[in-house]
């Protein structure tokens, strides 16, 4: 079997406490893998460190020990160009949609940003953006607004649409549908599933919604007492 797309191995994380010498540990020895074409979920109570795991993957926060690998290579030793390619291939929807876009920019500019920065070559960026918006049931008119003029659910869908623009191999979704009503959420999840079947995209799903997680996932990892374990019950009944 080839190396997993993403692997966390025995990762431990603590934050500096309020006093200079004290540290408080968020989790210890967390391990999980995401293979090509898999939908994997992280499940756990608020504050257990799920969002922190995502931030680590982009080295937005440090960790105490353990290894994080991408296609078998330690992410800290990736050469610059490979790291850029990884950032394009693994797209993330961060948890707070209200804060996902620059508050002063038009959505149009925020949407075009990854296309520009990753030098995506298409005949027409605007057409591409329009296509992705349509996939998520969003009007083109939203592009000429600023973030504060949109609802949380619209922003969440825009955030996912923005990920799809750069043809990712993997999506990291942190509560990406938390503000959607059930029918819109169902539509988003259908889209995610079809991306997996049609394009082989992998997904790491973080959600509080147990039903959603169980309906979507090939594998579920749950946090208990500061560490992560596979949800045995689920793995057995939905093994591929």
């Amino acid at each position: 079997m080839s190396a997993p797309l993403i692997e966390f191995a025995q990762v431990t994380k603590s934050f500096a406490g309020p006093l200079t010498r004290s540290r408080h540990q968020v989790f210890a020895n967390v391990s999980f893998t995401v293979h090509e074409g898999e939908i994997v979920s992280l499940f756990g109570p608020s504050g257990c460190g799920k969002s922190t795991l995502l931030r680590m993957f982009y080295q937005l926060t440090s960790w105490d020990s353990g290894r994080i690998t991408y296609q078998g290579t330690d992410i800290t030793s990736l050469p610059k160009s490979a790291r850029r390619e990884m950032h394009r291939a693994v797209q993330v929807v961060f948890q707070d949609p209200r804060n996902a876009f620059n508050p002063r920019w038009l959505i149009r500019r925020s949407m075009a940003e990854p296309l520009k920065l990753f030098k995506i070559v298409t005949t027409n960026h605007q057409t591409l953006i329009g296509e992705k918006l349509a996939l998520l049931g969003l009007e083109d008119g939203l592009l000429d607004r600023r973030p504060h003029q949109l609802s949380g659910g619209q922003l969440q869908r825009l955030a996912l649409a923005r990920c799809l623009l750069v043809s990712p191999r993997c999506l990291l979704l942190d509560e990406a549908s938390s503000m959607l009503d059930l029918s819109v959420q169902a539509r988003m999840m259908e889209l995610v599933k079809s991306l997996r079947t049609d394009e082989g995209i992998s997904v790491l799903l973080i959600s509080h919604d147990r039903d959603l997680v169980q309906a979507m996932s090939d594998r579920i990892y749950s946090f208990h007492d500061g560490t992560l374990s596979t949800d045995i019950a689920h793995t057995s009944d939905s093994s591929k």
């Binding site: 950032h87 508050p103 600023r146």
Partner: protein, 274 residues
């Protein structure tokens, strides 16, 4: 008075002062430095709107010319202070750690300097000239700006949209210039205008105590000093430049505050990020 009309008045005053200074050679009725000993201390008349001073020079013309030096120097020095303050403040706020500590130490050396005293020292050492006055203004001006920029960048750098952009391009230059600094724009405008207002007054103070712009240059600070001794006989020689000085420094600083307020209403709840 509504905010808009206040804004218009402040802007109008500033434009008037700037236009007057720029167009001085065209609108001044006489030369600001031509001495006429036969016409000393003349009261206001149709030929000399504000009378003449002790050397028989036309006070109105001197008032019209009198802002040119101070306005040009304070404008240039404000720009340079902003560039230095924004650059160092951004670096300190973004990188933190050693960079921050080093810049903070450097900053606090300058911050601790007493403004006018150090300006006198700089001008004293370098000799009075436009250059030395500019250097003094920048030396006492940049650190306050850099302190504010640093704290704003620090607050913004961990916002989620910045982290998202960091995933796209982890280049500090791009993130600071495109994402963060535009968000601090309202604050920067206020900082710049307040700084410039203060510089106008400080340059006048230097001229007043005789170390800034030198006579016979027509300068409001110089004129206030000259007019002081003869205030009882010819109050116009002092009041003219004093009023102009007040209008110039006040309208600049006020304009900045009004612009900031207007900016805030524009974006109302948009600026959930301060």
């Amino acid at each position: 008075m509504s905010r808009d009309s206040a804004l218009r008045i402040a802007a109008g005053m500033l434009i008037a002062v700037a236009a007057m200074s720029l167009l001085a050679p065209v609108i001044a009725p006489a030369s600001p430095i031509a001495v006429d000993m036969s016409l000393r201390n003349a009261p206001p008349s149709s030929a000399h709107w504000l009378g003449t001073d002790t050397l028989g020079r036309d006070v109105a013309s001197r008032v019209i010319y009198g802002g040119r030096g101070a306005l040009a120097i304070s404008f240039g020095a404000t720009l340079i202070s902003m560039v230095i303050g924004i650059a160092l403040g951004s670096l300190a706020g973004w990188f933190g750690k050693f960079t921050d500590t080093a810049i903070q130490v450097f900053m606090s050396i300058f911050q601790g300097l007493p403004g006018l005293t150090i300006s006198i020292a700089i001008v004293g050492v370098m000799g009075a000239s436009n250059l030395s006055i500019s250097v003094a203004m920048v030396a006492t001006g940049w650190s306050g700006i850099s302190r504010v920029v640093r704290s704003q960048i620090r607050n913004l750098r961990n916002e989620q949209f910045v982290e998202a952009a960091k995933v796209y391009l982890p280049a500090p230059g791009y993130l600071i210039v495109r994402h963060l600094l535009p968000l601090t724009m309202p604050t920067l405008v206020v900082l710049a205008t307040q700084r410039m207002g203060r510089m106008i007054l400080m340059i006048a103070s230097l001229s007043f105590i005789g170390v800034g712009l030198q006579p016979p240059t027509p300068d409001w600070g110089v004129m206030i000093q000259d007019g002081r001794q003869y205030f009882a006989q010819q109050p116009w020689a002092l009041l003219g430049p004093a009023v102009m000085l007040f209008i110039a420094s006040f309208s600049v600083a006020r304009l900045g505050e009004l612009l900031r307020d207007r900016w805030d209403t524009f974006s109302d709840d948009a600026m959930a990020v301060r």
